[in-house]
């Protein structure tokens, strides 16, 4: 493990990239991280001078879809950030080394780059049964995470597993799957999604790389650049939503016309992600564009939020088919019934008072002395 780490430009030069290609790369990086073009000079300078940070990519309880998404980043040159220009020192999926060699590689990177390496974590950490559900090289995921996070320059939680626990944490969460930010004692950049969009992932890494610090985060630890708007806010079907034109079954005319999928359970209105802007697979499409509602994969607890095709999901604690409306309507029915019974009972139990009131009534044509005195205080007390 070299101690004198070269800058990104030096590394690119050594690999035979031209200056022109380097400038192009800087341009793409600026765009990917959503930085204004006036900062272009700064970016070039940073990439020329700053040592390229080593990256440690840990895999815990996950399906590797985040890695799969990442390596399909639409700008090959942005993917190169990781594979050529960054030094990806440890990642189980892609590294050549294995066994003891790989573990040594991890240890070396952490030792030689104390406080400099970027830690990317994919997957959640099991906390039940002493963490035995996920161990690597005989050590528990928690142990590895704590060690790696202690000296990292920045910690990024890839995907919904690392950000919220995702499907492993869905009820009843048999392994006690826990998101990263609950386990490490420092700010974590959450990049949720199952998987997150490749361009968002490269954008976040680029930001950390350029500025050497974490981007602005929202209340749930997500970078505001990519997660401040709902899928719904930038959805191209939004005009249909506002016009009240909805698909009501998968094969109706409205579906063919591309109306809003809200009634088909679309989670766009409750999902914060960049899908409808950045789109997927090189800006080709995204779920709603291909005719399927959003399932809200970048939201916490999305597996437990009821069936994907039902808009109003079942209400927690009331069995599988009870939506808020069935419970509410039942309660309203019971209330109306109780009110009706009360009305009947009032007419019986309070008959004396009601009759007394009638008799108390003065007739405009008769003298006052015909007024009957009220029912005595305890007259009707039958308790």
């Amino acid at each position: 493990m070299e101690k004198n780490v070269p800058s990104i430009w030096k590394a690119m030069e050594a690999k035979g990239y031209s200056r022109r290609e380097f400038m192009y790369f800087c341009g793409v990086a600026v765009a990917a991280a959503g930085i204004q073009s006036s900062a272009f000079g700064q970016v070039v300078e940073a990439f020329e001078k700053k040592a390229r940070p080593p990256v440690v990519w840990l895999h815990f309880q996950e399906c590797t879809c985040c890695s799969e998404s990442f390596i399909r980043s639409s700008h090959p040159i942005v993917a190169d950030i990781i594979f050529d220009t960054l030094s990806l020192d440890y990642t189980e999926t892609l590294q050549a080394a294995s066994g003891a060699q790989a573990e040594k590689c991890l240890q070396d990177t952490m030792k030689n780059n104390k406080g400099k390496y970027i830690l990317l974590v994919e997957g959640s950490v099991p906390m039940l049964n002493g963490g035995s559900c996920c161990t690597i090289g005989g050590r528990s995921a928690l142990e590895i995470l704590k060690e790696a996070a202690a000296d990292a320059a920045a910690v990024i939680a890839w995907g919904s597993c690392a950000s919220h626990g995702c499907i492993q944490a869905a009820k009843p969460n048999p392994t006690g799957a826990t998101p990263i930010h609950e386990l490490v004692n420092r700010p974590v950049i959450n990049v949720p999604g199952c998987p997150p969009i490749a361009e968002v992932m490269t954008g976040v890494v680029t930001h950390v790389l350029l500025y050497g610090k974490i981007p602005e985060l929202d209340s749930q630890g997500r970078p505001k650049e990519f997660y401040s708007r709902r899928v719904h806010d930038t959805c191209y079907r939004r005009p249909y939503y506002d016009a009240g034109l909805f698909v009501e079954s998968w094969d109706d005319d409205a579906a063919r016309k591309g109306y809003c999928l809200y009634k088909m359970g679309c989670r766009g209105p409750v999902t914060y992600n960049a899908c409808s802007v950045t789109k997927w697979n090189g800006n080709l499409s995204y779920p709603i564009q291909s005719g399927h509602g959003c399932i809200g994969c970048s939201e916490a607890e999305f597996w437990d939020n009821g069936p994907f095709y039902q808009h109003l999901s079942s209400f927690p604690g009331f069995g599988i088919e009870s939506t808020a409306d069935t419970i509410g309507a039942t309660a309203a029915g019971v209330t109306v019934g109780a009110v009706a019974l009360h009305a009947i009972s009032s007419n019986i139990r309070k008959r004396k008072i009601i009759q007394g009131n009638m008799e108390e009534s003065v007739s405009p044509n008769k003298p006052d002395h015909e007024i009957v005195e009220e029912v005595p205080e305890n007259g009707g007390d039958q308790s």
């Binding site: 709902r230 016009a243 009240g244 909805f246 939020n305 309203a332």
Partner: protein, 229 residues
Amino acid sequence: MATAQPLPYRRVYVWEFPVRLFHWVNATGIFLLIITGFLIGNPQVLFRSNEAYQQYWFGWVRFTHFASAYIVFFNFLFRVYWGFVGNQFARWSSFFPVNKEQFLDMWETVRIDILQLKLKGKISIGHNYLASLTYIGLFILFLFEVFSGFALYSSMSGSFIPKLFTWMVPLMGGDANVRIWHHMVMWAFVLFTIIHVYLTFYHDYVEGRGDMSSMLGGWKFEKDKDLNR
């Protein structure tokens, strides 16, 4: 048994104009919120043959929901203020049972009006303490609806007011959950309305003190002896 004199009744100005105004603005607002809320939760397809550029009805439904929410919220804040400066029936002190006598009053109401074990008892001129306690509960649910509603609304608004409530979202595990609870708690208002309207009819019918009209004109009619002057 006939008496020589008519029963002495007095008019009592119970609900001041600001209280009545609050009540009706609140009632109208909540009614609109419930109707539009149902539509937002489960929109109905009204005009299938129109094109999107020809209509904006769902947008208007949502606008009505958000506008009513603002009105109802500020109306509530006004009522909180009026609870400090209004007459004795509007004051916050009339809402919270604190001493034994007031708790007994509550129990009396349960026995007389709810279970009907007893025919009649002491008359409360303003709210009885059981009603007051229900309103306190309702105010808490109301605040929950405001907080969760604004938290959901914050992502589509540039105003600072909804932004004050964004902390609700991570607390409840995402917009989807906030939404479910926002919807569920709405039902409490439906139930409240059923019971509230019924009980007003009931009191007016059984006691004949002008409960119904008091929320319009402010006056209730009390027998002189009930005024404990």
